[in-house]
């Protein structure tokens, strides 16, 4: 058995499987054994599906044996965040209220992933309903960061990021509402891509904040992220906000030139108190981009500091509306002993939702309640316009913007749990992009104190090809994506 098969990029695995240098079944078995060994330490998965994985891998091998065409991800072991509905496979959204929910349908993003030949390893842990920045709000257990088991993997797609960083999965899907793909990718030292709002169908993604939610990709190389995006993106008639465009041709765009690209560095993202190691690594990254021939210039996005307060009105407001469906009638947890229907609603929701979900439902209900709508929700939607316009103006002068992804590296488990506002501030650098619906990617840009730092690159709507070309050039020039956690050594010592 080849050592380190689990750290090969997905595109290399797919190519080797397609050339029949290794069987898809062997690749799946290697990953499942690694998963079995490391999962007790990391707790990245809520549900694993080893039988489905081996079955899918056998189908790939049979097709190749017959000489039939296979998909671009044939044999690639993939994990999926547990808020994407999977037909017949329990989907919890990290919540007690959906602990026993088995979807009768498949999300569009996962359906396309499997159609491309990916092998389903299981469903990854998340903050309940994707509300959080550390995966500690999961109703089941926290996930550990592979770089330091005493620290959080970030969130809310923390299970997906940890699984990819530890070599349990070659790629994973997540969802990003205010940074939930980019921030955990940064904290786990992997690539996290949030596409343009509407580029990937939200059909079957358990709704949190519908005007912001977007399915994203977590992978170990930019090329892998491009490959997965191409497989899952493109118009879907089942999502009325799906952009009427085809999947972007990112793979070939990766080979293009970056010389002469105009790179803007917005000064508002260089916060006072930005961790020193983050500041240094991102500054070095920008110098590398300059050395590749990009024209780097400082710029200003003055409304940046209003993005997080606007987000914490809009996202809870939409969540309070979306989560009204959990009433204990058609699916999900129902409390026993209720005296009447209304009592059953209240008891079921009280028992089924965790503290952060209740907090956001309360906040959102308050912001939408009679007399407050104009002052909070409408005001925030207008501020959103100011933030969107500011980005539009910046993109008249620049092709790509560069910022840090997270103000800190991975923080210790428990550090921010008691103070919701402090946890919310973890997203301060990723939320503006979400409000503007822009594509952005976090790429590894080195280690600080042994922990990964992420560089966030931002592009105009639907400019994923350009975004990934810049990210790929950076990756190839530095090789930071090849850094690995000392997990295997750590395991051996235990």
């Amino acid at each position: 058995m080849e050592e380190g098969l689990w750290y090969l990029p997905a595109y290399v695995l797919a190519a080797r499987v397609a050339r029949r240098e290794v069987s898809a079944a062997e690749v799946a078995e290697v990953h499942l054994r690694r998963l079995e060994r490391l999962e007790p330490l990391l707790q990245a998965f809520i549900t694993t599906t080893p039988e489905a994985a081996l079955e899918a891998a056998r189908r790939v091998d049979l097709a190749l044996g017959r000489g039939d065409p296979v998909g671009p991800l044939a044999g690639v072991p993939a994990a999926v965040k547990d808020n994407l509905c999977t037909l017949g496979v329990r989907t919890t959204a990290g919540s007690r209220i959906l602990e026993r929910f088995v979807p009768p349908y498949e999300s569009t993003a996962t359906a396309r992933l499997w159609r491309a030949g990916a092998v389903p390893l299981g469903k990854t842990n998340l903050d309940e309903f994707a509300m959080g920045s550390s995966t500690e709000n999961s109703a089941f257990f926290p996930t550990r960061n592979p770089w330091d088991l005493g620290r959080v993997p970030g969130g809310s797609s923390g299970g997906s990021a940890a699984a990819v960083a530890a070599g349990l999965a070659a790629a994973a899907l997540g969802s990003d509402t205010g940074g939930s793909v980019r921030q955990p990718a940064a904290l786990c030292g992997v690539v996290g891509l949030k596409p343009t709002y509407g580029l990937v169908s939200r059909f079957g993604l358990i709704a949190f904040a519908s005007s912001l939610d977007q399915v994203g990709v977590i992978a170990r190389t930019v090329r892998d992220a491009a490959l997965v995006l191409a497989a899952i993106a493109g118009h879907d008639p089942l999502d009325s906000t799906s952009a009427p465009v085809g999947p972007p041709d990112c793979e070939s765009a990766l080979d293009g030139e970056v010389e002469g690209l105009r790179l803007g560095v917005p000064r508002e993202y260089w916060l006072e108190g930005l961790e020193e190691g983050v500041r240094r690594k991102v500054a070095e990254a920008i110098e590398v981009l300059a050395s590749l021939g990009m024209k780097v210039e400082e710029c200003s996005l003055p409304h940046t500091e209003y993005a997080l307060p606007a987000y914490y009105i809009l996202a809870p407001a939409e969540a309070s509306s979306n989560l009204a469906r959990y009433d204990g009638v058609r699916y999900g947890h129902r409390a026993s002993g209720a005296s009447d229907l209304n009592d059953m609603y209240c008891r079921s929701r009280r028992e089924g939702f965790g503290a952060e979900v209740k907090r956001r439902v309360m906040l959102g209900t308050y912001a939408l309640s009679s007399g407050y709508y104009d002052a909070y929700y409408l005001k925030a939607q207008k501020v959103r316009t100011l933030i969107r316009r500011e980005f539009e103006q910046a993109f008249e002068r620049f092709d790509v913007l560069a910022t840090p992804t997270s103000p800190t590296t991975a923080f210790p488990l428990g550090e921010r749990v008691a103070d919701p506002l402090k946890m919310y501030l973890s997203d301060v650098l990723t939320v503006p992009v979400s409000l503007a619906g822009l594509p952005a990617v976090s790429v590894p840009c080195g280690l600080s104190g042994g922990l990964p730092v992420g560089l966030q690159l931002i592009a105009p709507p639907l400019a994923e090809a350009r975004l990934l070309r810049a990210a790929s050039a950076f990756e190839q020039a530095t090789g930071h994506h090849r850094a690995r956690p000392a997990l295997d050594g750590g395991v051996d010592r235990r």
Binding site: A15, R100, V102, P104, Y197, G198, L238, T241, A243, P244, D255, R267, E268, W270, E272, G273, E284, E287, V288, A290, S291, E298, H303, E305, Y312, S320, A324, G332, A338, S339, D340, L341, D343, Y345, R349, K358, R359, V361, M362, L363, S369, Y376, K379, A380, Q381, V383, R384, T385, L386, R388, P407, P420, L421, K422, L425, V428, L429, G437, Q476, G479
Partner: protein, 155 residues
Amino acid sequence: MRSAQGEPRPLLGHPVADPLVRARKRAGLRLPGSGPAWYNVAGGGGSVAVSRETVEHIAVLARLGLDPAEAGEMERQLGAILAYVGKLRELDTEGVEPTFHVLGRLLPSLPLRPDEPLPPLSPGAALANAPASERGCFLVPPVIPEEAEKGGGGG
């Protein structure tokens, strides 16, 4: 960036050991100074007064049964969060259009799908996750409390 073998090669010909050695030779690159403190953008940790009555009213609207301890905690935390989001009042948004769909400008008309029937979920599949069902219907406790005889809940 791909060689004949199909494997990517580094953009600069080889992995750069210390990219800064090269980068720092380039003159004129200046990086920004500091903005606001990231941990302190809340603006002094103030609080908006949210009364217990308001918390209880909102909990009724949201159908969340909060116990007294949760309600007290919520009172304090909502106050702090509302003080933070109140920062938006600093901005003059007179005459600014709200953004309800973020790609509205780029994609002015999101297409509706043709109104064609699709295969529906079977009744069995639709009911499979129901906490209680009977004769093809979702079963719920009595809607009007007075009519409840005994222990109607739970189904």
